[in-house]
């Protein structure tokens, strides 16, 4: 079957499904990533209150601080979708502005995570201190790694647009980056609720 080479959003690709295979693959990847994070979240919920020794979640979590982090990531989702809207109307300047804004917000979130990890570490919660520490750092660490990869993707798109490699015909590239970034945000929505707001009694 003939493969589409470049497909703008809303136009049928020359595939069996009429959909671009790259976009199909991205959704498939995100579906698999749901399983990835689902297993880590289940493990965290299993282990968070089965500790022989502290420190414990209630000793460490700073909900106001984490709420601000959540707000930052939510805002980055807005700037990301505004970047997509910009390239769809061929406004490359706005695209670059919103891409940089999203990357900066992502870096802000990562800085907050780094601060939180450092604070927890200095308070005695390490990767091997107790089951809570192991499961918390693995879960949030992998989420942070996903955010870092997302920032690299965003900066790559920005660089490509600066060098003229990203044109208004390349909305799919920004859309795929946006799908990944929004997924990272929705994982944090789940983590924020299950890990931070619903603490063990």
């Amino acid at each position: 079957m003939a493969q589409a080479t470049a497909v703008a959003h809303g136009h049928a690709a020359e595939t069996n499904t009429g959909l671009d295979n790259r976009k199909l693959l991205m959704w498939l990847f995100l579906a698999s990533d749901c399983l990835f994070f689902g297993s880590f979240i289940a493990t965290y919920l299993l282990y968070r209150d089965r500790n022989v020794t502290g420190p414990y979640a209630k000793d460490l979590y700073d909900i106001p601080f984490t709420s601000v982090s959540s707000f930052v990531l939510l805002m980055s989702s807005l700037t990301m979708v505004l970047a997509l809207a910009a390239i769809q109307r061929a406004d490359m300047r706005q695209l670059r502005i919103w891409l940089v804004a999203t990357a900066l917000l992502g870096l802000t979130f990562l800085s907050g995570q780094a601060y939180e990890f450092t604070h927890f570490w200095e308070s005695g919660l390490t990767l091997h201190q107790n089951l809570f520490g192991t499961s918390f750092f693995v879960l949030t660490g992998f989420h942070g790694a996903h955010v870092a990869v997302g920032v690299v993707i965003l900066l790559s798109l920005f660089d490509a647009s600066l060098r003229g490699k990203l044109t208004p015909d390349d909305t799919l590239a920004v859309e795929l980056g946006g799908l990944y970034w929004h997924f990272v945000d929705i994982v944090w929505i789940v983590i924020f609720t299950l890990v931070y707001l619903i603490q063990p009694q």
Partner: protein, 127 residues
């Protein structure tokens, strides 16, 4: 409790169900629901709704007399609504081909099933 969140998600996706329009001509194609995109103002409105819901969640955390089971149920429903909003509008699932929905929701349901089995079997709990 995990099922409450799953039900919330399913309800949200049900609300997104829009009669699909068949693509014209050629080989059988998966129907695309809607060609248009939300405008930036709509995205900002969605963002404000997400922020409001987050504020409600955080406020609920600090209410001391709220029954724990009720609080967990409400928090799961609220986060489910946020999840569905980002997936539906920001990720455009509401406006895109149903095949993407099947793929993503299929993976999500599988993840929820594994999650529920692990929690139930090994007796971890939210409550």
């Amino acid at each position: 409790m995990a099922f409450i969140g799953a039900i919330g998600l399913l309800l949200a996706f049900t609300l997104f169900a829009v009669p699909a329009e068949e693509a014209e001509g050629g080989a059988k194609r998966v129907a695309v629901r809607r060609v248009g995109h939300p405008d930036p103002a709509e995205y900002v409105v969605i963002f404000l709704v997400l922020v409001f819901i987050t504020a409600v969640e955080v406020a609920l955390y600090y209410v001391e007399d709220f029954p724990r089971k009720g609080m967990i149920a409400v928090l799961l429903l609220l986060s489910g609504a946020k999840f569905a909003s980002v997936v539906g509008w920001y990720m455009h699932l509401k406006f895109d081909s149903k095949l993407f929905t099947y793929l993503f929701v299929g993976g999500l349901m599988l993840a929820l099933a594994v999650f529920t089995v692990v929690i139930a079997t090994l007796q971890a709990g939210l409550v």
